[in-house]
């Protein structure tokens, strides 16, 4: 499902125009980024949680060349599906 598909589907569901949805999508992504950077968990009921997590620095060794590399710490966005969604997915897709 690409961007235009998404917009058309949302417009069907919410009864909004494509331009409005476009605008709202951009706003949503901005809000997400802001809130995550603010170290907040975005919890959406029956869907899942978005969270910012810190990955500690680690030492990686190349299996063949044996070159040891220090991988720096980084922050990543983590999504954890809710149990509700999980059950739904279990029930529908087998």
């Amino acid at each position: 499902m690409n961007h235009s598909d998404l917009i058309s589907k949302i417009s069907e569901k919410a009864g909004l125009t494509a331009a409005e949805i476009e605008n709202l999508l951009v706003a949503t992504s901005q809000v997400f980024t802001e809130q995550l950077l603010d170290d907040k968990i975005i919890g959406i009921q029956n869907f899942g949680n978005f969270e910012l997590r810190l990955k500690e620095e680690r030492l990686s060794v190349h299996p063949t060349t044996k070159v040891r590399t220090l991988v720096p710490p980084k922050r990543v966005v983590n999504f954890k599906q809710s149990n509700n969604l999980k059950d739904k997915l279990k029930g529908v897709l087998q």
Partner: protein, 412 residues
């Protein structure tokens, strides 16, 4: 560490502010958005939202587990899981504080050195190999030199012969005719020496001729001579065995035969000396002339003893015992080869040490030539073996067994 969790309501508010739309529209939009994503996921479709990321399903394989309480094995069914992969923009934005950090290759100098070593390894190997080869060549040439040097010393064997001849001629006539002794001895000595010299000369010439033609055969002969020399002069038997390892089997058997022969001769000579020393005592009273004649004889015999003793001192009776091929006529018991039976186990049971399995094998060699392949149900005869040979505390016995083991196991 508790993070503040914002719900959909708060999110909607923020979106409405951001997009500058009413709360109601934003709420409808948000609900629709997540519903659509859910639908897409339920249809096993990838939902991509530009600027945010993509939602995707991933299949988790069914796996086996154990019920902790009951210990029962249970299978956890495979299931789909919703995954979220953030968009590059979001990823970068989120990781901004750490963006300047880059992966650091640790101990780069060492790594480089390692790499260099790795790249140089084949060359170094070649170098070391070349060194090894040159060493071996040097050794070989040295060996050849020593062998050539030993050629004039070939009279070691004649020496023994000389000793034997002398001993025979010294001891035997002494009992019968002592007066003639001094004369005959000197004559015989001269004769034998002359003979020996001529013999050695002939040998030398012959050997030289052969050297030009059959280098290999000469090498083998030299090794045999060296082996003989070492059996005379070496103090430890290990060296003998080491020497034998260079030889092929026929040569080895020859050497062993010659060695046994020589050992017997030496023993004989020793015996003669003993008898000779006893004999004069008996005869001193009867003949005065004897004393005069015996004195030089004794000195000669002393000198001979001095010559001989260092030669046979290290070779004791055990070595002869060990080196003579055993004949198996008496047997303690017979064992039936079952699944799991091992010759070594049998050896441990009957002889007290597993290394002596070679003797069991030797006794049964006619029936089962391959020690590794002995059929189940085979009857294995356990021979009676001299206790001295199977002395587990004696290093020589173990070494001999080890040597035989190598001999039999390496056989194709």
């Amino acid at each position: 560490m508790n993070k503040i969790k914002i719900s959909l309501q708060e999110l909607v508010e923020l979106i409405s502010v951001k997009a500058n739309v009413s709360k109601r529209i934003a709420e409808e939009f948000a609900k629709a958005l997540f519903a659509v994503i859910e639908d897409g996921l339920l249809a096993n479709d990838t939902v991509k939202i530009s600027g945010l990321g993509s939602f995707k399903l991933s299949w988790n394989e069914p796996r086996r587990s154990v019920n902790i309480n009951t210990g029962e094995e249970i299978t956890i069914d495979g299931y789909y899981k919703a995954n979220f992969t953030p968009d590059n923009a979001l990823k970068e934005a989120v990781n901004e504080p750490f963006a300047h950090l880059e992966a650091v290759v640790l101990d780069s100098k060492n790594e480089k050195a390692d790499n260099e070593r790795l790249s140089n390894d084949p060359i170094k190997n070649l170098g070391s190999q070349a060194e090894e080869i040159s060493d071996i060549l040097a050794e070989l040439t040295q060996m050849n030199k020593t062998e050539i040097e030993t050629v004039p010393e070939v009279d070691t064997v004649p020496e023994v012969v000389e000793i034997e001849v002398l001993a025979e001629d010294n001891s035997k006539p002494e009992e019968q005719n002592i007066e003639d002794k001094a004369e005959t001895q000197s004559i015989i000595e001269d004769e034998t020496k002359l003979e020996d010299k001529s013999e050695t000369d002939e040998n030398f010439v012959e050997v030289k001729k052969r050297k030009k033609t059959w280098w290999l055969t000469i090498l083998i002969i030299f090794v045999v001579i060296l082996g003989l020399k070492i059996t005379y002069f070496s103090s430890s038997c290990i060296q003998c065995w080491l020497k034998y390892d260079f030889l092929d089997e026929p040569a080895r058997s020859k050497v062993i035969a010659v060695e046994n022969f020589v050992n017997n001769k030496i023993d004989n000579v020793k015996g003669w000396f003993v008898s000779e020393n006893v004999a004069p005592d008996l005869q001193i009273e009867s003949n005065i002339e004897v004393e005069q004649n015996i004195e030089p004889a004794e000195t000669i015999s002393d000198s001979l003893v001095n010559e001989v003793t260092p030669q046979f001192a290290p070779v004791d009776s055990l070595d002869i015992l060990l080196n003579t091929p055993l004949r198996y006529t008496k047997f303690i018991a017979t064992e039936t080869f079952r699944n799991g039976t091992r010759l070594t186990v049998l050896a441990k049971k009957y002889y007290g040490h597993k290394d002596f399995w070679v003797y069991i094998y030797e006794a049964n060699r006619d029936m089962y030539p391959n020690p590794d392949v002995i059929p189940i149900g085979a009857t294995i005869k356990i021979p009676v073996i001299d206790k001295r040979i199977i002395d587990a505390n004696n290093q020589k016995c173990l070494l001999r067994a080890k040597y035989l083991h190598d001999l039999y196991v390496k056989k194709p």
